[in-house]
């Protein structure tokens, strides 16, 4: 092993609790060499980077933050499987010295694994500032591993940490961790070890033994498969194995009057208490700065108003201030006057073909430019959100809102996915992973994309600005519509039998506040923005070319060729095929239909499409005529596009996160049905209220409204009667 790794870079796994400074350490270790999956978070792609020390190189893998290696969250499973199956050369276990007892709990489990490792004792500067002391040498002796003091934030101790990690990997010797459980437990473990010894890798024997004692389902299944391919068939041997182990566990549980996992956890913490008592000296308890901040921020009366004010400020800054001014400048002046106009002039003078000029200037630059204009606004929004994330306020939000959100079948943690979804639904849906309650996680995924994401902002701006002439309430009402959809969907859906799931506790750490670091914030903004830019220059660019082709070519008089009027183009033909579907919503024409359809590829596309399809050069009608001159139809169009199925990238994320075909289908149906129902009610009832005659459309809208009200107000049934009753209403028209 050690000779082979001389040439190949070492594989280092970075493991630690959430909020322990793991990301900061990872950034300090790997600098600018890290790379992630192309769409941040679409898969659980490992973040990986290269660290150098003394002329040698290591691949550092940043594993998800976990409190434990019990197999109850996806993060725990991923971390555990990586450590056991990918066999890293060394683990760097980051421990927050200011919260040492709980952090060491994870360490005890890592030490049981028998993998070479080093403990990075982070935030020691804060410990000293407090007047506390940690006997680092004593800690190292008690745990049997090297312990290195670091400050990830200041970049102190990093070189020394890497040196120790390399040394540990070279020696390849597992930690000398001689923690003993109580006599009865050790006796049971010894007997289990004798049974499982032949079927588990010898270096992980202690770990497997403890997990068998805890009746860990995943470990049992893994042993059933066998560690190697040829061991896999021997199923009967496995049954026998478990049969022999069970009485040992049951006996020990009876003697100690507790469940096996509880015994192990309890004794682990008892062990840590003994170690900490010997090695950590705490000064007198006083109210920390963090608690003083919390006294205001999570105050019973002040907490919620402060939160509202903060969120309002963020949106005012990014959407109104930067969004209004800069985005407009980017679109009109930067793209329009500085790029498109001069380029067009050059091409004319050079004698470029008309169709080429149109393709490049209107098709490609126009399509991509419409999206690129939104970058400044998104940078500001993501930066402000990253600041909140990095300082520790996000978990306070979850704490403040849990009670309110639970009423809608969501959790306090749902607020973060919903908030991120106002930037982009993809990371929003991904972040729903932190919600442990299955039903609340699903509800969050279903409702997250109701929030208008930044790609939908251009549409909102267009409708509010051009159709409604900048009427003040139109843009905010789009957000209100999104929030109302989350609330009412939650209230209606949570009554369904589908949304009953296993209970799991809501445990939420309120970490100490930290001053956000520029490095973490810029990195987080960059990750999100680069994904957006990539999208603009790949899928949107290609679709812009396709749309340009479809809208400039068509059949006139039986001959295929370039057309002068969009009405004869291919895209008009395609749009007309299904325009009837949208007729009850007030926008049953091919232009609006095509915009809606192409919006599914990326919501920014809606505005691009409208831009191309209503451009004066193609002799198209102005935007307002797209909706028959009816503002209410334009509003229904906006509502439908905001609420219906999100873009393909978000849909694929949603499908993979739901981990169930039936749930994915349910989600898509609900989103589509909900959007249709809402747009139908807006258009039909809006027209009726403004004096139009009562028609079949109005009747359908009233029926839908009645059905939704019934679904909303009916008492919660004892047994769920399936997701049938309320959806018939939305699909009948």
């Amino acid at each position: 092993m050690t000779t082979a790794t001389r040439t190949a870079p070492l594989k280092v796994a970075l493991v630690g609790n959430p909020n322990s400074g793991k990301t900061t350490l990872f950034n300090a270790l790997t600098g600018s060499t890290q790379h992630v999956g192309n769409w941040p978070g679409v898969t659980v792609d490992a973040k990986e980077g290269r660290a150098r020390c003394g002329g040698r190189e290591a691949r550092v893998v940043d594993l998800p933050g976990v409190y434990s290696l019990a197999p109850y969250t996806s993060e725990e499973v991923v971390t555990r499987d990586f450590l056991i199956l990918e066999e890293p050369d060394v683990i760097i276990n980051i421990v927050d010295a200011t919260n040492i007892e709980r952090n060491l709990y994870l360490s005890t489990q890592l030490l049981d694994m028998g993998i070479p490792q080093v403990i990075a004792l982070n935030m020691m500067d804060l410990v000293r500032k407090h007047g506390d002391e940690v006997d680092v040498r004593g800690l190292s002796e008690a745990l049997g591993v090297p312990v290195v003091e670091i400050s990830a934030l200041r970049g102190q101790g990093i070189a020394q940490l890497l040196e120790q990690a390399f040394a540990a990997a070279d020696e390849g010797i597992p930690p000398f961790f001689n923690r003993k459980f109580s006599y009865r437990v050790e006796d049971a473990l010894a007997r289990i070890a004798k049974i499982v010894y032949p079927v588990v890798p010898p270096e992980h024997l202690r770990w497997y033994t403890i997990k068998f004692f805890e009746r860990d389902e995943r470990i049992r299944a893994r042993a059933a498969q066998g560690h190697t391919q040829h061991e896999r068939e021997d199923f009967s041997r496995h049954q026998e194995l478990l049969g022999d182990i069970e009485p040992i566990i049951a006996g020990c549980e009876a003697q100690l009057d507790d469940t096996a996992p509880s015994i192990i956890t309890g004794e682990s913490y008892d062990f840590i208490e003994r170690v900490v008592a010997r090695t950590v000296r705490r000064s007198v308890e006083e109210r920390s700065a963090s608690e003083r901040i919390d006294a205001v921020v999570t105050h019973r009366l002040l907490g919620l108003p402060l939160f509202v004010l903060l969120i309002f400020t963020i949106y005012y800054l990014s959407v109104t201030v930067v969004g209004g001014v800069v985005t407009n400048f980017m679109d009109k002046t930067f793209i329009g006057h500085w790029i498109q106009a001069p380029l067009s002039a050059v091409l004319v003078r050079g004698g470029a073909a008309l169709w080429l000029r149109s393709l490049i200037v209107d098709g490609i630059i126009g399509g991509v430019g419409a999206v690129v204009s939104f970058i400044p606004q998104m940078v500001v929004l993501f930066m402000l959100l990253a600041l909140l994330e990095d300082c520790g306020y996000m978990s306070r939000i979850a704490f403040l809102l849990d009670r309110a959100l639970r009423r809608f079948g969501l959790s306090g943690r749902s607020f973060i996915p919903l908030l991120i979804s106002t930037g982009c639904g993809v990371p929003g849906i991904m972040s729903a992973r932190t919600i442990e309650q299955e039903s609340e996680r699903r509800m969050t995924i279903i409702t997250a994309t109701f929030m208008p994401c930044s790609a939908k902002l251009p549409l909102i701006a267009l409708i509010a600005g051009v159709v409604f002439g900048g009427l003040w309430w139109v843009a905010p009402s789009a957000y209100f519509l999104g929030i109302a959809s989350v609330v009412f969907s939650g209230l209606i859906l949570k009554k369904l039998g589908r949304f009953k799931s296993k209970v799991s506790p809501f445990v939420l750490e309120l970490p100490s506040y930290h001053v956000p670091t520029a490095r973490n914030v810029t990195r987080s903004v960059w990750e999100r923005i680069s994904a957006f830019v990539k999208k603009a220059f790949t899928i949107i660019l290609l679709l812009s070319i396709l749309l340009w082709f479809l809208s400039r070519f068509g059949f006139v008089g039986g001959r295929f060729g370039m057309v002068t009027s969009l009405d004869h183009s291919l895209v008009a033909g395609i749009g007309n095929l299904f325009a009837w579907v949208f007729a009850p919503l007030g926008f049953g024409n091919w232009r609006a239909s095509i915009a809606t359809l192409l919006g599914l590829t990326a919501k920014e596309q809606i505005v691009s499409v409208i831009g191309i399809l209503t451009s004066k050069s193609a002799g198209a009608p102005p935007l307002t005529m797209l909706f028959g001159g009816q503002r209410i139809a334009a509003y229904a169009f906006m509502a439908f596009n905001l609420l219906c199925i999100p873009c393909v990238v978000a849909v694929s994320t949603m499908i993979s996160e739901m981990k169930s075909r039936s749930w994915a289908l349910f989600t898509l149906t609900w989103q589509l049905g909900w959007a249709y129902a809402v747009a139908l009610m807006i258009y039909q009832l809006g027209m009726w209220a403004s004096g139009a005659v009562f028609g079949p459309g109005t009747a359908a809208a009233l029926l839908v409204l009645a059905a939704l009200l019934f679904a909303l107000l009916r008492p919660k049934p004892a047994r769920g009667d399936g997701p049938g009753c309320h959806k018939e209403g939305s699909e009948e028209s």
Binding site: Y72, I100, S262, L304, G412, P505, E509, L510
Partner: protein, 73 residues
């Protein structure tokens, strides 16, 4: 049986046992709430639930329904 839910804000209690099965019990215990450990209730959220407790030197938020699983004295 007295549970954490019954402890008023500002009050402290020692854990006797954590009820519940599988994930429910394990997730709570993993956070450091184990037999014999001292807990202090620090505050409740503006809407009355969840609560914040001090455990092993850090602040943890729990729903009252989960706090009812923690037997204390």
């Amino acid at each position: 049986m007295k549970t954490l839910k019954d402890i008023p804000v500002g009050g402290s209690a020692r854990v006797l046992r954590v009820r519940g099965e599988g994930a429910l019990q394990r997730r709570i215990m993993d956070m450091g709430i184990t037999k014999g450990c001292l807990l202090q209730v620090r505050k409740t959220a503006p809407l009355g639930d969840p609560i914040v407790i001090l455990v092993r030197g850090y602040q943890l938020s729990l729903r009252k329904a989960d706090a009812a699983l923690i037997e204390v004295q």
